[in-house]
């Protein structure tokens, strides 16, 4: 048990650091991340530009900091979308049961039969490749898993005595759902939302890497990595540092997710 707490602290620290860096980027970066400087093109990491400069002479560290903002913002927005709609669908389906549940779940399971990234790619073809397109596409792709988890939790909760008691006391159904059922679903929602935050950051960088994400010149870790690819031999740092940022963030989320799962939801232990 101790081991997991230790992992959780490391994971939590990495994620906290990500948020702090993103917040700092709002008020300060070492250089202007968009400023072109042709005299400083492809400079290796040095005392002035700690992580070097790119093919347009822009400071890589400053761009990584702004890229962290993009990751955090797209990750959070996607998770909020999936949590909001997934919870709403899961609550409705699990609480009403019957034919409503049957129809909703048939659709839900069919959506789950698509690989998430494929669904997102298909939706991006419709929404267009930009940050809002990504948020909608990933949000829609992740909503079915959230709906399924919430529905499962609601189905077992609604049979419990305290729910019965709340109804007997004359509370309205809406009140019972919001006051008694929803708070008891928070543990599985939190665990899944943490993993989703990681999936969203990874998918966003993969899509940006493919050129289907946030369009340049706005920096994201994925499009920086893609832009660094042609220069991999002469300027390896261009691809190396953005990838390292993504890997560290995912490691933090995985460690934190494992620790949360063990703490909040012992039933989900062993999944994934």
């Amino acid at each position: 048990m101790k081991k997991f707490t230790f992992n959780g602290v490391i994971g939590g620290t990495i994620i906290a650091l990500l948020f702090v860096v993103a917040a700092i980027g709002m008020v300060w970066t070492p250089f202007d991340p968009m400023k072109l400087s042709f005299s400083a093109r492809l400079a290796a990491p040095n005392g002035l530009h700690l992580l070097g400069t790119d093919e347009f002479g822009r400071d890589v560290l400053s761009r990584l900091i702004i890229g962290a903002q993009a990751s955090v913002w797209i990750g959070l927005a996607t998770v909020c979308f999936a949590v909001l709609f997934g919870t709403l669908i899961g609550l409705t389906s699990g609480y009403l049961r019957g034919w409503v549940d049957g129809i909703i779940m048939a659709f839900n399971n069919a959506l789950l039969a698509f690989p998430g990234i494929l669904l997102a790619l298909g939706l991006l073809a419709v929404f267009g490749a930009n940050q809002y397109g990504i948020i909608f596409a990933l949000g829609i792709a992740y909503t079915p898993s959230m709906a399924r988890i919430v529905r499962g939790a609601v189905l077992s909760l609604r049979e419990r005595e305290f729910i019965e008691a709340s109804k007997v006391m004359g509370n309205s159904e809406i009140y019972t759902i919001l006051r008694h059922i929803l708070p008891n679903c928070l543990a599985p929602i939190t665990v899944l939302a943490t993993s989703m935050f990681g999936w969203a950051i990874l998918s966003e960088s993969a899509l940006s890497f493919l050129g289907l994400g946030v369009p340049p010149p706005a920096p994201t870790w994925g499009n920086m990595l893609a832009a660094g690819r042609p220069f991999i031999e002469q300027a390896a740092w261009l691809g190396f540092f953005p990838g390292l940022c993504i890997a560290f963030t995912l490691l933090g989320i995985n460690l934190l997710g494992d620790a949360l799962r063990d703490k909040l939801d012992p039933r989900m232990r062993g999944l994934k």
Binding site: A113, A247, F248
Partner: protein, 340 residues
């Protein structure tokens, strides 16, 4: 037949009295029910792919033909697609065309979509299947050993490695491998692609790095899954019983624990296979492989809607079929699903 014999050998006590015939019926029932369960999914997949193009603003026929089409061509395609009919009729016409193998033509190259998509699909499938196979062969035993030695240094090292591997994005790992083995050491070519069917030696060399990238990543996922499901099983009474009988640890682990623990991992491997087919575009971009993922992404850039439809449909179908096959083979590891 294999399934029947296998399930007879490992039937739980309460079902031992069942005849071979009953078991055979159960197997057939099991296979049919699983196949039937895939049908609604396939229908909804088809509806979703069909609807997707209808969501894009504008005339589908004009979209399908691209910017250079003249009004006569558009009118001709409109009548072929039945665009003047109601939406359900349009859907049936579309499905009818699919059954005849007519997936439309690429706007960009004019090639028939089915041929294009299938030829690219095999390139991607080779890489994915090979990578998942190698990853499973290494990672499943590693996960079982980690569970067996729970909380030991071995376990810690294996789980730690797995968590790190799983956190490394494949496109970054691919670039690093390319930089090291391709550019620094010069062991593998950096650009281009040769199919194994034209020259198997060269083909294998070109496939080495993409396969390595994928299996290193997936190993992380499979080690953790195999460990978790083995841990669940090792807590059960029959393991204690097997140990109490005086069986060697090896026998307990591989003959008793492993067989029962493999089920969830097997399902997971199926999910990974399907997900990789959808997500392989990044790997194909890194290594410039002309696979299905790259085709899909290029078609999205070029707004080549017939090809987008074809790719989405094929990958989703492959995903459903892979999971169906995985489900159908499941009784080989756990005959209880048939008995139920």
């Amino acid at each position: 037949m294999l399934i029947v014999q296998h399930s007879m050998a490992r039937q739980p006590l309460d079902t031992c009295h069942r005849s071979k015939e009953q078991n055979g019926n159960n197997v057939i029932k099991f296979i049919l029910s699983r196949m039937l369960m895939a049908v609604p999914t396939i229908i909804i997949v088809a509806v979703a792919v069909f609807t997707l193009i209808r969501f894009i603003p504008g005339d589908p026929a004009a979209l399908m033909l691209g910017d250079l089409a003249d009004p006569q061509q558009i009118a001709a395609l409109r009548s072929t697609l039945g665009l003047d009919q109601s939406i359900p009729v349009q859907f049936m016409i579309w499905v009818g065309h699919l059954f005849q193998g007519d997936f439309g033509k690429s706007i960009v190259t004019g090639e028939p979509v089915l041929h294009l998509v299938l030829s690219r699909f095999f390139i991607s499938a080779q890489i994915v299947v090979l990578a998942v196979f190698i990853a499973s062969v290494i990672a499943v035993p590693a996960g079982v050993i980690a569970a067996w030695k729970q909380n030991s240094l071995t376990d810690l090292a294996l789980v730690g490695t797995a968590t790190v591997l799983l956190s490394i994005p494949t496109f970054w790992l691919g670039l690093l491998l390319l930089l090291f083995f391709g550019l620094k050491l010069g062991w593998v070519p950096v650009l281009g692609y040769v199919s194994v069917t034209t020259d198997w030696k060269a083909g294998l060399i070109y496939m080495a790095l993409p396969v390595a990238t994928l299996f290193i990543h997936e190993m992380g996922v499979i080690i953790r899954m195999a460990r978790a499901s083995t841990l669940e099983v090792l807590r059960l009474d029959y393991i204690t019983h097997a140990r109490a009988k005086g069986l060697s640890e090896q026998a307990v682990l591989w003959r008793h624990a492993f067989k029962n623990a493999f089920g969830p991992t097997w399902t997971m491997i199926g999910l990974i296979l399907g997900n990789l087919l959808g997500g392989i575009a990044v790997i194909e971009t890194v290594f410039s492989i002309p696979g299905l993922g790259r085709l899909l992404v290029d078609s999205i850039f070029q707004r080549d809607y017939p090809v987008i439809q074809g790719c989405l449909l094929l990958v989703a179908l492959a995903y459903v079929l892979v999971n169906l096959v995985i489900d159908l083979l499941y009784p080989l590891f756990d005959p209880r699903v048939v008995a139920e």
